[in-house]
């Protein structure tokens, strides 16, 4: 398993190199307004734009630009924002905590809800709890996240004069109450939205497992229902479920951009959003490489957890 993990880790830099090259070239080759034009603003003379491009290094041959960028990255120098000249590293450190918190909380909530309701649905197969859960899953995957988040702001304010806080992130260890008031409601919304697929998969896998011989044996020898359910059935349904948790993570990761945008939380998603509108190429390419890193590591964790859940899995 260690050897497998190491071999997978060797792929990590290769994938990141590939992603960085594709994004770098795409951002510069595809037709679109030059970032210098946007920064210089309307009515700027061609000379001013030219000077800005020179200053941003956009006139160099694309290969040289890429080489400089990658060697700087490897040295730990992430560059500066086009606009504010702020250090990308500092900005990343400032914006990372809220994004990390929202993604992790949503993932935990989504996983608990998805697996929990999936198991309930499987146990009560074709009885009312099953129908309610299944209808809920379809309904919640049909309501767009941005609509639920807007309702979160609008409905309590209209009905109860309670306003959902917006912006102003405070770390949990400094002020847990303020932090949770801001982060918990959107995390629940994002978690519910991400849990529908997980719930369906848990249900189908559990239905299969519950019909298997070893579950019947476990029941027959008089084990308690919880023991049968959680240590026999759920454990054997674990591998596909973990895969679905990985998929839910991708959904939540993307959804966090919408949350940060609607609730004006100064996280990485909001940064990405504004950077791409302003064509701040250094920020966009940095964040894409960062996202690729997160996605690859997450997949690695999912793959490695197969062996932990099901010792029969052999890595090769």
């Amino acid at each position: 398993m260690l050897r497998y993990a190491l071999r997978r880790l060797i792929w990590l830099p290769i994938i990141l190199f590939g992603v960085s090259a594709v994004v770098f070239v795409m951002l510069r080759v595809l037709p679109g307004q030059s970032p210098a034009e946007i920064i210089a603003g309307q009515g700027a003379t061609p000379e001013q734009i030219e000077a800005l491009e020179e200053q941003l290094g956009l006139n160099e041959p694309i290969w040289d630009q890429y080489r400089v960028w990658v060697t700087d990255l490897l040295r730990g120098d992430f560059g500066e924002e086009f606009y504010s000249q702020k250090s990308i590293k500092d900005e990343f450190i400032r914006r990372f905590p809220p994004s990390f918190q929202i993604v992790m909380m949503s993932l935990v909530i989504g996983t608990v809800l998805g697996i929990g309701f999936g198991v309930i649905s499987a146990i009560f197969r074709n009885r009312s709890p099953d129908y309610v859960v299944r209808f809920g899953a379809v309904a919640f995957s049909s309501i767009p996240e941005f609509f639920m988040l807007t309702l979160l702001i609008v409905v309590p304010a209209y009905l109860w004069q309670y306003s959902q806080p917006v912006g102003g992130y405070v770390p949990f260890y400094e002020d847990p109450w303020t932090n949770m008031r801001l982060m918990l409601p959107p995390a629940i919304i994002l978690g519910i939205a991400g849990s529908a697929g997980l719930m369906r998969l848990t249900r189908t896998t559990m239905l299969e497992v519950l019909q298997s011989d070893y579950v019947r044996t476990a029941k027959a020898k008089g084990l308690r229902q919880q023991t049968v359910l959680f240590s026999h059935a759920l454990r054997n349904a674990g591998t596909p479920i973990v895969t679905a948790v990985g998929t839910a993570f991708i959904a939540v990761f993307g959804g966090s951009i919408i949350v940060e945008q609607v609730l004006s939380i100064q996280g990485l998603g909001q940064w990405f959003f504004f950077a791409s509108l302003q064509r701040d190429l250094t920020v966009v390419q940095f964040l894409v490489v960062y996202s690729a890193f997160v996605v690859v590591v997450m997949n690695l964790i999912v793959d490695l957890s197969y062996g932990y859940i099901d010792p029969r899995v052999r890595y090769s």
Partner: protein, 307 residues
């Protein structure tokens, strides 16, 4: 040869049988739907959406862009069935025109993404080998990233607008369609009728065209349902974020975003467009799930079926 001869004998024998009177086609066609009320509701919503998307502009009582300073923030009335917006525009007319925008977007994604994806999927399922590998690996790489991140990257390169959104969602539809059709063509490929066709000397192209394609067609409907659901949510989300349709365009995402400015005092400005999106997407989801259940009992486990 022996089995074919036996089948022919059976067919021959059957000709003399008295067949039970067949129920009219419409009754037979309705039967699976009546057993699946959820799917039936989905079908009605989907058909209703398509019809409104086509005829909406003719039945809309007002011009959706027409401003009326005298009639801002009006509630529900006979003159304005859904009230009016902050600019005094008729909400009902805007919702009807918004259905057209969503419908057009869905159709564009279907034609440029899902349809070629279907062809690729059949090719990749039936012929396999390198084409299969190439398509499936690219599809996996694509699905590994959140679509919103891909979209923001494309927007950083070419600028915002419905066109950029359509390109990304269409590529998603291409991979989604190819994965679905690959899976079902793989199953069909090993069935006896393909073997029989090959035995009587049909070329590979003939088999694909005359046997595989008609047999996987029903699954295309499943795919189209989910493509519409995804496309409608995507267009609304991106327009809401200000990356899709131009402000002022009658569209559900735009209306919701403009309504949210006044939403705390007039929540209905947010709720009408939000409901429109949710109901239509729910309709397509229910329809797709039910079609899948009817077509393939092994895939059962979603809405409205009895095991």
């Amino acid at each position: 040869m022996a089995t074919i001869a036996r089948e022919q004998a059976i067919v021959h024998e059957q000709e003399s049988w008295e067949l039970p009177a067949e129920k009219p086609f419409i009754v037979r066609a309705m039967k699976p739907w009546l057993r699946n009320p959820a799917g039936f509701i989905g079908l009605i919503i989907a058909v209703g959406f398509i019809v409104l998307g086509i005829i909406g502009p003719w039945i809309a009582p007002y011009d959706p862009r027409e401003l009326d300073a005298q009639a801002r923030f009006e509630g529900i009335s006979w003159a304005h069935p859904m009230g009016t917006t902050a600019l005094g525009q008729d909400m009902f007319s805007r919702i009807l025109y918004g259905a057209r925008l969503s419908l057009i977007f869905g159709i564009v994604v279907m034609i440029f993404g899902f349809v070629p994806g279907t062809a690729l999927g059949i090719a990749s399922g039936y012929f396999g080998r390198w084409i299969d590998h190439a398509i499936q690996r690219s599809g996996e790489a694509w699905a590994a990233f959140p679509q919103l991140i891909i979209l923001l990257t494309i927007i950083a390169a070419v600028g915002p607008g419905l066109k950029s959104v359509a390109v990304v969602i269409a590529i998603g539809g291409l991979f989604g369609g190819s994965r679905l059709l690959r899976a079902v063509s793989l199953v069909e490929k090993h069935k006896d009728y393909v073997l029989a066709a090959r035995a009587v000397g049909a070329t590979e192209w003939d088999i694909v065209r005359r046997y595989i394609v008609p047999n996987v067609m029903p699954y295309v409907l499943v795919g189209i349902s989910s493509v519409f659901a995804v496309a409608i949510i995507a267009e609304a989300t991106l327009s809401f974020l200000g990356l899709g349709a131009q402000p002022g365009t009658p569209g559900w995402g735009i209306d919701l975003s403009e309504g949210s400015n006044e939403g705390i005092t007039y929540p209905m400005l947010v709720i009408w467009p939000g409901l429109a999106i949710s109901i239509v997407v729910l309709g397509f989801n229910l329809l797709g799930d039910t079609l899948r259940d009817i077509l393939d009992p092994r895939l059962r486990g979603s809405m409205g079926d009895k095991h």
